[in-house]
């Protein structure tokens, strides 16, 4: 069966429809069939519909996403309470240990993202992986920095990513590879993303799952939860009426 490839982190300037359209078309041309774009918390339904329309024209499925950057665990909880049902994907940028731990154990968080170049504030360790593996959170790795950084900083990033990918695999925690691209030049084909992941020792099969099976599973699970038929995990309304 053909894989369905997804990039859950396209970062166009959403106030510029031309830019959004160019990035979506490029993603479609490179073989992605599902994309997600981070939206502001106060975005309107009209804005979302406009992006959905652009995606439909490019024959790509669109998932709405929000990137949370809470400073405290309480702020994270309050944000999640407010926005969880508005967006299909919730990502948390974990730049403190407390926030990382809270995000890892909260079942409303889909993606754990860590500060890309602030290596001291990357709290993805074994404790974090264990918490995340008991909930539904997934480790997200943005490939943009592998392309833009050079020299010792890239070497350091590769070393950190190798360690984190190893920990995640050890705890059977899924990994999602995203582009984090803000322009077309930084977009790569899914197979090329997998090739880049070999730089931090992710096996080819795991890397391909990280651009296909893992992101698609997150969106599928959340769409099911957000549908009006959903009652609880494993329970959904099949039919309503007097004859039931």
């Amino acid at each position: 069966m053909r894989r369905l490839y997804a990039d859950l982190h396209l970062c166009p300037n959403i106030n510029d429809p031309k830019h959004v359209s160019a990035l979506i078309n490029k993603a479609s041309e490179l073989g992605y069939r599902l994309i997600a774009i981070p939206l502001p918390p106060n975005c309107t339904d009209q804005e979302i519909r406009q992006i959905q329309k652009l995606c439909a024209e490019a024959r790509v499925d669109f998932a709405s996403r929000i990137d949370l950057k809470p400073r405290t665990p309480n702020e994270l909880l309050s944000n999640l309470r407010r926005i969880r049902r508005k967006f299909e994907i919730v990502s948390v940028l974990c730049d403190s240990k407390n926030v990382s731990r809270q995000a890892a154990k909260d079942r409303r968080v889909d993606l754990l993202n860590f500060p890309p170049t602030d290596f001291r504030n990357r709290f993805f360790d074994m404790a974090e992986a264990e918490l995340a593996s008991n909930s539904v959170a997934t480790l997200e790795i943005d490939m943009k920095l592998l392309l833009t950084l050079e020299g010792p900083t890239r070497t350091r990033l590769l070393s950190v990513l190798r360690k984190e990918a190893g920990i995640a695999e050890g705890f059977h925690l899924p990994i999602v590879l995203s582009s984090g691209a803000s322009n077309e030049i930084l977009l790569r084909k899914p197979v090329e993303m997998a090739a880049l992941a070999s730089l931090f020792d992710l096996s080819k099969e795991s890397a391909l799952e990280a651009v296909s099976k893992n992101p698609v599973a997150i969106v599928k699970r959340n769409r099911e939860k957000l549908s009006p038929q959903f009652v609880a995990p494993g329970i959904r309304v099949v039919r309503k009426g007097k004859d039931c």
Binding site: L147, I185, R188, L196
Partner: protein, 97 residues
């Protein structure tokens, strides 16, 4: 390996090949690059199309290095692998050229 060069600028084959060698060298060092057996077979600057030969054992290495290329000189660029094949004839058949 058939490659598509995504850039608004036209580069000559020398510039392109130097950039490919540079990318492989940066990621894998001179020792790794020496194992890759990179050779330019065909280059169409106008169409942004290139065919390069790569040693079989270095295919994954070359894929990663090509994906890591973001500029030639100061000009932004992206290189995408269009197709990979064991023979040049089959490669041209696959890419319909």
């Amino acid at each position: 390996m058939a490659l598509a060069i995504d850039s608004g600028v036209v580069f000559d084959s020398r510039e392109f090949m130097d950039a490919v060698w540079g990318a492989v060298g940066k990621l894998y060092g001179e020792y790794g690059a020496s194992k890759s057996g990179l050779t330019m077979i065909d280059y169409d600057a106008e169409q942004g199309f290139a065919v390069i030969r790569v040693s079989l054992v270095a295919i994954d290495m070359a894929r990663a290095a090509l994906a890591s290329m973001t500029r030639i000189g100061n000009k932004p660029i992206a290189v995408h692998v269009v197709s990979v094949s064991g023979t040049i004839k089959a490669l041209y058949d696959k890419t319909k050229r």
